[in-house]
C-alpha cells in the first residue's frame, strides 16, 4: 500500500497480521494512493528466514531494501513501524528544518512543544488534541522555507503510566493495543483525531514556542524566556540543525523572532489545557 502521511507518501510492504491490523485502525482516516505510484519513503517489514521464524519470532524493518535496526519481537511490529518511519523521515526530509517537537494548531496558529527528557510532551500533546487543538505532529515540527509548519499527524505513542492518564483524561480517545516490554517500557498509541487527519494539507503559522516540563502535582507556571535561550534549545533539539548549516541557523532565527517563547512547568493536564486555552484566546 502507499499511504499518504502528511507531506509524504509511504509505500509499506508487510504481511504481518499485527501490523496490518494496527495500520487499518490507526491510519484508517489517511488517504491511500495507487500502489504503483510514487513514494517518498519505501519500507518493508518482514519475518526473517531463520529459526527465528518459529522460535521467539522476530520482525525486521527495511528501507529501500536495506535493513535498519536490530530485529524486534514479532509482536512489536507496530511500534517498530512507527519508530522506523520516524527514522526514515528524520534522516531524509532535509527540505525542512525538523524540530524534535510536538506541534498543535488553533485558529491557524501553531504551538510548538520541543521534546526534552521529562517534558511529558506526548501526553500533553494527546491531551491538547482532545481539547480543541488540531494535531500537526507529536514528533516532528516541519518548518518550511517560508517558515510555516507542515502537518504530519501520526499515532501518538504513550508510555507506561501515561497510557492510563490519557484513558482517564480523554475517555473518547481511541487507543491501540498495548505493547509491553518494548525498549521504552509499555507503549500504546493514540489515534490522531479525524479532524487532524482531514486537515493535514493545511499548514500553520508558528506563534508560540513552549518548553514543557512535567513535575508531579506541580502548579502550572508559564514563564517567558529570552530569545537566545529559545534559540539554543530549539537548535540543539532539532533533528537536522547541523545538517542544514547556515540555512538551519537562519530558520531557527526567524522562528524565534516570530514567536513568543516560554518555559512551562505543570503537574496536571487540566491546568495545562487551561493555560494553553488562555494563551490562544
Amino acid at each position: 500500500m502507499v499511504l499518504g502521511v502528511g507531506p509524504f507518501q509511504v509505500r509499506i510492504h508487510a504481511r504481518i497480521a499485527a501490523l496490518t491490523g494496527f495500520l487499518s485502525r490507526m491510519y484508517r482516516d489517511f488517504p491511500l494512493h495507487p500502489p504503483d505510484g510514487f513514494a517518498d519513503i519505501r519500507v518493508r517489514l518482514y519475518r526473517p528466514r531463520s529459526w527465528r521464524r518459529y522460535l521467539q519470532p522476530q520482525v525486521c524493518f527495511e528501507r529501500d531494501g536495506k535493513r535498519i535496526f536490530h530485529p524486534f519481537p514479532l509482536s512489536h511490529a507496530p511500534p517498530l513501524f512507527e519508530w522506523g518511519l520516524n527514522w526514515c523521515i528524520a534522516t531524509r526530509a532535509h527540505q525542512y528544518l525538523m524540530l524534535h517537537a510536538a506541534v498543535l494548531e488553533r485558529g491557524g496558529r501553531a504551538l510548538i512543544l520541543p521534546a526534552t527528557p521529562g517534558s511529558g510532551k506526548s501526553t500533553l500533546c494527546a491531551a491538547l488534541m482532545h481539547r480543541g487543538w488540531r494535531l500537526l505532529s507529536d514528533e516532528f515540527g516541519l518548518v518550511r522555507e517560508d517558515d510555516r509548519l507542515d502537518p504530519l499527524p501520526r499515532p501518538i505513542p504513550l508510555k507506561n503510566e501515561s497510557i492510563g492518564v490519557i484513558r482517564a483524561f480523554a475517555p473518547e480517545a481511541e487507543l491501540g493495543p498495548e505493547f509491553p516490554k518494548t525498549r521504552k517500557g509499555t507503549v500504546a498509541h493514540v489515534k490522531p483525531t479525524e479532524a487532524s487527519v482531514r486537515r493535514m494539507g493545511e499548514s500553520a503559522v508558528p506563534v508560540w514556542i513552549v518548553f514543557p516540563r512535567y513535575q508531579r502535582d506541580a502548579r502550572a507556571v508559564l514563564e517567558p524566556v529570552p530569545a537566545s535561550y529559545a534559540f539554543l534549545r530549539l537548535a540543539y533539539n532539532a533533528f537536522n540543525y547541523e545538517v542544514l548549516g547556515a540555512e538551519g541557523f537562519r530558520r531557527v532565527g526567524r522562528l524565534v523572532r516570530r514567536c513568543r517563547h516560554f518555559n512551562f512547568s505543570y503537574g496536571h493536564l487540566e491546568d495545562a489545557v487551561e493555560i494553553f486555552d488562555s494563551l490562544a484566546s
Binding site: S228, E242, A246, F249
Partner: protein, 86 residues
C-alpha cells in the same frame, strides 16, 4: 601574545548573526559551530570584522581590561573565528 599582534575575522561573510538586547548568537559557516556571545564579545567580533585590531586597540575602543581582551582573542582563535593579520 605579542603586544602589537593584530587579528582579523577569518571570513566576515561566513559569520551569521542573530542579535537581541544584551546578547547575540552567531553561526560560523566555516566550522558549522553556533556560539552565544555576550555584549563585549559581540562588540569585539564586530570590530574585528571591520578591520584588523590588536588587543590594545580593542581594549581601548571597548573600554575593558586588556587581559580580558587577550583571553577573548585566544578563545576566538581556538574557535576558528579569527586569525593573525599578517
Amino acid at each position: 601574545m605579542p603586544r602589537s599582534a593584530r587579528w582579523r575575522l577569518i571570513d566576515r561573510d561566513r559569520i551569521l548573526w542573530e542579535r537581541w538586547p544584551g546578547e547575540c548568537i552567531i553561526y560560523n559557516d566555516l566550522s558549522g559551530q553556533t556560539h552565544l556571545l555576550n555584549l563585549s564579545a559581540a562588540a569585539a567580533l564586530e570590530l574585528l570584522g571591520a578591520e584588523p585590531e590588536s588587543a590594545e586597540t580593542l581594549a581601548e575602543k571597548l573600554k575593558v581590561e586588556r587581559a580580558e581582551i587577550e583571553r577573548l582573542l585566544q578563545e576566538f582563535d581556538q574557535l576558528g573565528l579569527i586569525e593573525p593579520d599578517e
